[in-house]
């Protein structure tokens, strides 16, 4: 699974996700990556989210919308809301999970609870950072 989130100069947020599913998956199985609100979600003024991992659990949690709601209605920060899903809800289900997300101020996070995640972000100064394991 791959995904991207972005904030543009006009303050608009967007998210996109794409996947092949997983090895040996049943034919016709649909992942969270094409379910708006689960694997992909964006709401101006709040955040944009793209998820990766066991899709069934992101669908059940409506993960992208849940993160935006915890920020919008509970006042959580992007980091609190995304860590809550990846290290709270998904960990409780013992599910490998990760995501990339960005808020309306351009703060970006790339949390994951597996041994690695292909990830990248651009620092506010324009520096490109990519990583795989704990680098």
């Amino acid at each position: 699974t791959v995904g991207a989130v972005a904030l543009d100069r006009a303050g608009h947020l967007a998210a996109a996700t794409s996947t092949g599913g997983f090895n040996n998956k049943p034919a016709a199985r649909v992942s969270d990556s094409s379910v708006i609100g689960a694997g992909t979600y964006a709401r101006d003024g709040v955040c944009a989210v793209s998820c990766t991992g066991r899709g069934e659990f992101f669908i059940r949690l409506v993960a992208g919308h849940e993160i935006a709601s915890r920020m919008d209605y509970r006042g959580q920060s992007l980091k609190e809301a995304t860590d809550g899903v990846i290290f709270g809800d998904m960990k409780r289900w013992d599910v490998g999970a990760g995501l990339c997300a960005i808020d309306a101020n351009g703060n970006a996070v790339v949390p994951y609870n597996t041994i690695g995640m292909y990830r990248g972000f651009v620092t506010p100064q324009g520096g490109l950072h990519v990583g795989v394991h704990d680098d």
């Binding site: 699974t1 791959v2 995904g3 991207a4 989130v5 904030l7 543009d8 100069r9 006009a10 303050g11 608009h12 947020l13 967007a14 998210a15 996109a16 996700t17 794409s18 996947t19 092949g20 599913g21 997983f22 090895n23 040996n24 998956k25 049943p26 034919a27 649909v30 990556s33 094409s34 379910v35 708006i36 992909t40 979600y41 964006a42 709401r43 709040v46 944009a48 793209s50 991992g53 066991r54 999970a97 990760g98 997300a101 960005i102 101020n105 351009g106 970006a108 996070v109 609870n113 597996t114 041994i115 292909y118 990830r119 990248g120 972000f121 651009v122 490109l128 990519v130 795989v132 394991h133």
Partner: protein, 176 residues
Amino acid sequence: MAGPVGVAIHGGCGALRREDLTGAEWAAAREALRRSLRAAWDIVGRGGSSLDAVEAAVTVMEDSPAFNAGHGAALNADGFHELDASIMDGATLRAGGVSCVRRIRNPVRAARAILDEGEWVNFAGEGADAWAERAGLAMVPNAYFTTQRRVDALRTLKELEAQHASHRASEGEKHG
């Protein structure tokens, strides 16, 4: 006054240990991540839309064999590819998605075309392929998405399941 801009991407989480790939394979994956970031950053950096930026970033990764999306995607139990993708615009809550498509070279571009067309949100299966073809998107045979690494992964998992009927694939065996 123009506001801040930002981009973040992921290429999938999982259980790949450092020793699971060669140095060249790790380097190729990192290079694809950089190209993806740069594609998005160039757009928002010159005042373009976040929607165009995320579509561009995901397209780069769909075209790279390093990631489980587009070319390089996993194989299903029947030995072919079914791909899912979606995109969402935070300004208008417009969205587009495709599920279980088999012939669209870049599924995220089909999702964007559905978003832009505005009437629907998600199309699935052969109908989605046909819609994308009518919309003029690049279409490929299903084998375009196949890589040797995925063929090997499917065969290994099926052999394990044949040997141990109770074998339940680990996250690593599923997701790599």
